[in-house]
Subunit: 331 residues, 2 copies
């Protein structure tokens, strides 16, 4: 069994989303808590801007929960930068312990699942979870110097400048984290770093299939099945792969990356990066769950375990996707 259930019903009692100016102009713009005026965010380097964004997300989620930093027992966070420095340096700013996690862009699910386990077991009262990404830091770390101004291929996705954070607790009100399905590393041999969607889709298919199989549920048991950042092409591959295994995703399926930017924003296959699913979850999704517009959703952020070293040594890009069931709760 890859799926576990949380009997004590850990709740998301506070959340916060922060995005860059481009992301603020996308379809989710009005749902985000804060839109930065520039990607540089007044900092000397983009890495420092990313860190500042993380800190604002964590502090914002704590305040949104009606808590103070001293009420938080632990931070679970991860990001795309080498040695997850955005998370670690964010943790340095606070007085609570820290566990670094990494599942590439599936990190929001890993932090939520681990946090829910800790809360469910009664080990801690309030656990913060965070992740995010920054276009300029990811682009120059994984692909090319920004100054090159490279052309983008049709399968490419745009790494979002965005971060999201939330606070889990047994007390207070908010959407319930009721289940988690831990994903396997799946690799179909994709080597193109400009085709992340194809690299991640097989792992999303595997996790969703396993989740439905282990819980005895159908796609229609969810108001929404939401993958992370497969983008247009990756989402199509996922639909095909699941159909091949007898699972038909209906109109209740969507991908954050695919609908994160508007068509005229010219991002080819859409958005990618930890920040995509993290900012959508911690804004739109949580608001809709609170308003009972959604009763039960399956949140499946998707990660490409990409590394420049591995790619340069001829390796393919493995994918991983963890899934979380979120329920409106309160009835």
């Amino acid at each position: 069994m890859q799926t576990i259930e949380f009997k004590s019903k850990p709740k998301i009692i506070g959340s916060y989303s922060i995005v860059g100016p481009k992301e603020g102009k996308g379809p989710f713009g009005s749902f985000f808590d804060y839109v930065m005026k520039s990607d540089g965010f007044g900092e000397k380097t983009y890495e420092m801007a990313e860190r500042k964004m993380f800190e604002q997300a964590v502090t914002g989620a704590i305040q949104n929960a009606g808590l103070h930093s001293g009420d938080i027992d632990l931070l679970l966070a991860g990001d795309l930068l080498n040695q997850i420095i955005s998370s670690s340096f964010t943790a340095r700013a606070y007085e609570f312990p820290y566990l670094g996690v990494f599942s590439a862009c599936s990190t929001m699910a890993e932090s939520l699942a681990t946090g829910a386990i800790l809360i469910n077991a009664g080990h801690f009262h309030n656990v913060a979870c965070a992740t995010g990404s920054h276009f300029s830091t990811a682009e120059r770390q994984f692909r090319f110097p920004l100054e090159l101004g490279n052309q983008r291929v049709p399968t490419s996705q745009w790494t979002a400048t965005a971060a999201g954070a939330c606070v889990l607790s047994l007390e207070g009100e908010g959407p319930v984290v009721s289940m988690a399905t831990f994903g396997k590393v799946i690799d179909y041999g994709i080597t193109d770093v400009n085709n992340m969607g194809a690299a991640m889709a097989p792992s999303a298919a595997d996790t969703i299939y396993t989740h439905l199989n282990e819980t005895g549920r159908k796609p229609s048991d969810y108001d929404l099945i939401l993958t992370g950042d497969l983008g247009k092409l990756g989402a199509e591959i996922l639909i095909d792969l699941l159909e091949g295994r007898g699972v038909k995703l209906g109109p209740n399926y969507s991908d954050c990356g695919h609908c994160y930017y508007s068509r005229k924003q010219d991002t080819m296959c859409g958005a990618s990066g930890c920040g995509v699913s993290a900012s959508v979850l911690n804004s739109y999704i949580i608001k809709k769950l609170k308003a009972k517009k959604f009763k039960r959703i399956l949140f499946v952020p998707t990660g490409a375990l990409m590394s420049t070293t591995a790619t340069q040594q001829g390796e393919s890009i493995p994918g991983i996707s963890h899934a979380i069931v979120l329920e409106a709760g309160g009835d």
Copy 2:
């Protein structure tokens, strides 16, 4: 409270350690399960050698537990390479789910603590935990090309080529993981990448102090208090820092990094890297606990949250240390 207790007594039912030739010649040499003939381990690149070492450690621990790969519910692993590729690519080789974790060289404790939480809560039967490091991959990623053959400064430590893995379960026999204390990120402003011990010692002091304070225990309540890879200088700083807070570490205190190589192996302040504490734990320590030579130990791997990007941007090196209480059990 940063300390949690595991009431169900998760046990380490299998373990495995693998090291490079230099490490095999050190004082722990006879305790390791496998000593590689060369750092290259028959692979085309050192990164592939590191991965092969990880796989052998995970498979070895599963076999040592008397289990098959199909019995394992989850792998928790992390390492020093960008995007923890050694762990992720190792996970690709197996059919079980994977959670990537990162606390630099405190990763063995993070994986053990998270694994113990999962086992303690009854979510899973058998969880594998692994970490490691490789001299040649770490040196060229964090410091200089190997071909430079740089001289080493007196405060430097030698990244060990070593990996360790273990299997946690409620069933079977083995040392018990009874408590975990999660560490905070602590930064005293050290910027010298050749002085990791000084960067990590404050976090070790903070975690040990907090652990003793929260549990009401004294250093003498442990047969051994073992830090990860502070090295000679870092261990001295830790002793001083704790003395300043009224805690006197006695002869039952030791540091894996300090005693990992013999003096004639000329490694300046000793060993560093995730593999140091992981290989000592999964060989010497577990064997001594099984033989009841130790009844209760405090295992405190120490992590330097170092990144070349952060260093190049003038940042200091924050430290983090998580602590685990291990007991001989069985009485």
